[in-house]
Symmetry: C2
């Protein structure tokens, strides 16, 4: 009999409970062993719940679970950092396996918690922390056994993807789309974490740490949000057959084993409207990786939601019990050098709304000074242009020198090619 | 020291050899054990090869490998059915694990070989048999632990995907595109297996057997090839914002646990041009599955090719050695009832080139008799129409009654919605 202690009975926690109850008999056949959730930590013992929990099953004292000698696996589903970190650490120290869905503690303490788990000979698994029902952590672990991963990128946030989809498909402004997302419960009261890309940065730091076998610090990921994109921008993207997506992207340099350089960013990117990334709408997530042997792989699925996230947690639990989970050192402690956004290259879309017409020559001067070649698309209202292929560093440098307020410009790197036909149409 | 016997040194075999040579040190660190390819079966000992193999490493006698007491794992990479089946069976009987990339023997003998492997307590793994570098077999095995899979579908053949891409992007006829595929080495001298969908049917039978936990017999998969699609059809698809893809598709009935019914087919399907499936071009493959808990998942990657296929083989080898591979009964021996294509439903695109104008009223009569409602799109050259939502059974029945030669019609089920704007444009 394998006993599980469940910390938290919110969306993910209750989902895990329901799957284990429903599949009890299947799991017994599969594992040759019974699984039981033997205790659940809740914040309010008297709260009315959709699921009827026996009073003996719940507790509001975490230590009743964390110190219970007969509990084998702790599922952490309370979220947040402070308490979750304390409980997970104690669980590992008390020789329990830990499964978590908490991206915040994994992004922050991954190396430390993996080292502690290694020391104790226990598992620390976190499939559910990135991409909901997409088995990306396990796939990455599997791939790095054979492949050097050179790039990992993904659409990893449902809120911003919903907003961008609505702006594109229904011609809503950013604020209108955000309001709609709020109304439908897809955006939180304070949506900063989603809108500014911080949520994606946490997920990207987890993925790239595994992909590159070195902790990618969250603070070294450049974040740019989606709120500078206007209706005018969206209409231009359509004319160019492009679609905007908030993408987390991490790459290593060609000489990574020597110079240890990597670039990582979360920013809105323009992709071809018939690309796979363009087809990822609303609450779906996608992760793409590039391995030197296997080539390009994509993994796509529900990025969040009770069932798919709980599915990932239970999958980790089954791996622990069946023995399919095998320890391997994920973080090899080699030092990496954050190279800003230097390693990213592309053509850029740039729109500037100059405060006055007199500013326009200054902008052109600045482009020339930075050796940025461009073609003007429109100069009627705002100034809109496409640059030639440049490094992201060059673009960021130029933008800083522009010294304009954030509301007055929008710039996006373009992935893939613009069809020359589209280009000609827009320029004519 | 783990010793591997390699049967075959063609594309896949040499790829496996190269990865293991290149990653030897990494694998030693990862597994705490040395891996060695100790013998390779070749058909011609004196053949000149790109890789320099020591003469002691190669043999033309399979039994020198299959009966070697010190060999732990056999990699079967000779292809074909007769010999491969014999060797794999003997390897398992001689208490060796088997890893194969051979879809033909897996599709045909999966249940038998899995049962033999179970009896001997050995692994029979075949990740490389479907979808090249896409880890779809492992992902399926992982998903069925928790999920009831209700549908599995995929683009699984590079040759036909290349041909359809060229027909769409470069306005080539089917024959021109096939000729180009031949020239570039993407199509074999006799391309029947690819063109008619038999290759995909083999892969689909493997996937759906695992997904539905019951052997899906290859013979119960309805196959329709892509050679009836004309330039006129392609231009119509573009007007409707649709794209044609050869898709293998298997579904179970809503009451599968009672009626045991499933439908499986390989046929060209029309998908929305901005869907994920439409974005899969040339040599890439995609597999989508629908699980009752995890929801929809897609897996995308290189469908064939030396490195990605060899990567899948080596991944299986590592799972065997590390112990990550755990036996679980895949085929549960419950009986399924092949329900033809009854469970598929959709609107259909239909083009008929009547031998004479007098045939047209007969066609309309037949549509009415079969209770198929439709809208006519064009009647200038060929008759082109779109039906309302009907079952695939109804459509197949109607087509049989048409009694026309294959060159004279083309019909395709439409997945997803046609935008009403596009519809109106085409009808006007």
């Amino acid at each position: 009999m394998i006993k599980i202690g469940l910390l938290g009975f919110g969306t993910v926690g209750s989902g895990v409970y329901e799957i284990i109850e429903k599949e009890k008999n299947n799991f017994r056949t599969l594992l040759g062993e019974e699984i039981e959730i033997s205790k659940i930590l809740v914040s309010d013992l008297n709260k009315k719940r959709n699921v009827n929990l026996p009073p003996t099953l719940i507790t509001d004292n975490p230590y009743e679970i964390l110190n219970a000698p007969d509990i084998d696996i702790i599922v952490e589903a309370i979220g947040g950092v402070k308490h979750a970190y304390k409980y997970v650490t104690l669980a590992l120290e008390n020789d329990k396996h830990v499964v978590t869905a908490n991206k915040a503690i994994v992004a922050k303490y991954m190396d430390e918690l993996l080292a502690l788990a290694e020391k104790k000979g226990k598992g620390f698994l976190f499939e559910a922390s990135v991409g909901g029902g997409i088995p990306i952590i396990k796939s990455l672990k599997q791939n790095i056994r054979i492949n050097k991963i050179t790039q990992i990128k993904g659409i990893l946030n449902g809120t911003t993807n919903f907003i961008l989809s609505k702006m594109t498909d229904e011609n809503l402004s950013f604020n209108e789309a955000l309001e709609l997302a709020r109304k439908l419960g897809y955006a939180e009261a304070d949506p900063t974490d989603d809108i500014e890309g911080y949520d994606v940065a946490r997920k990207l730091s987890i993925l790239s740490s595994i992909a590159f076998k070195t902790k990618t610090n969250y603070n070294n990921i450049m974040c740019r949000g989606i709120n500078s994109i206007s209706k005018l921008d969206i209409s231009m993207f359509k004319k160019l057959s492009l679609k905007v997506k908030l993408i987390g992207n991490a790459v290593i340099s060609d000489n990574f084993f020597i110079d240890k350089e990597f670039s990582a960013s979360v920013e809105p990117i323009l992709v071809n409207e018939n690309s796979t990334f363009a087809s990822v709408n609303d609450a779906f997530n996608i992760v793409s990786l590039m391995g030197d042997t296997v080539g390009e792989q994509h993994f796509y699925g529900h990025g969040a939601g009770k069932n798919s996230t709980a599915n990932a947690v239970v999958s980790d639990i089954l791996d622990l019990i069946s023995g399919e989970y095998k320890f391997s050192k994920l973080i090899e402690n080699t030092i990496t050098i954050p190279a800003g956004v230097k390693l990213f290259k592309g053509k850029y879309y740039l729109r500037v709304a100059p405060a006055s017409k007199t500013q326009i020559p200054k902008i052109f001067n600045l482009l020339n000074k930075n050796d940025i070649k461009y073609e003007i698309i429109s100069i009627n209202e705002d100034l809109i242009l496409l640059t030639e292929l440049i490094s992201a560093d060059t673009m960021e440098h130029f933008i800083k020198q522009l010294k304009l307020s954030h509301d007055n410009y929008c710039y996006l790197r373009i992935e893939g090619k613009i069809e020359s036909k589209k280009y000609a149409e827009v320029l004519s």
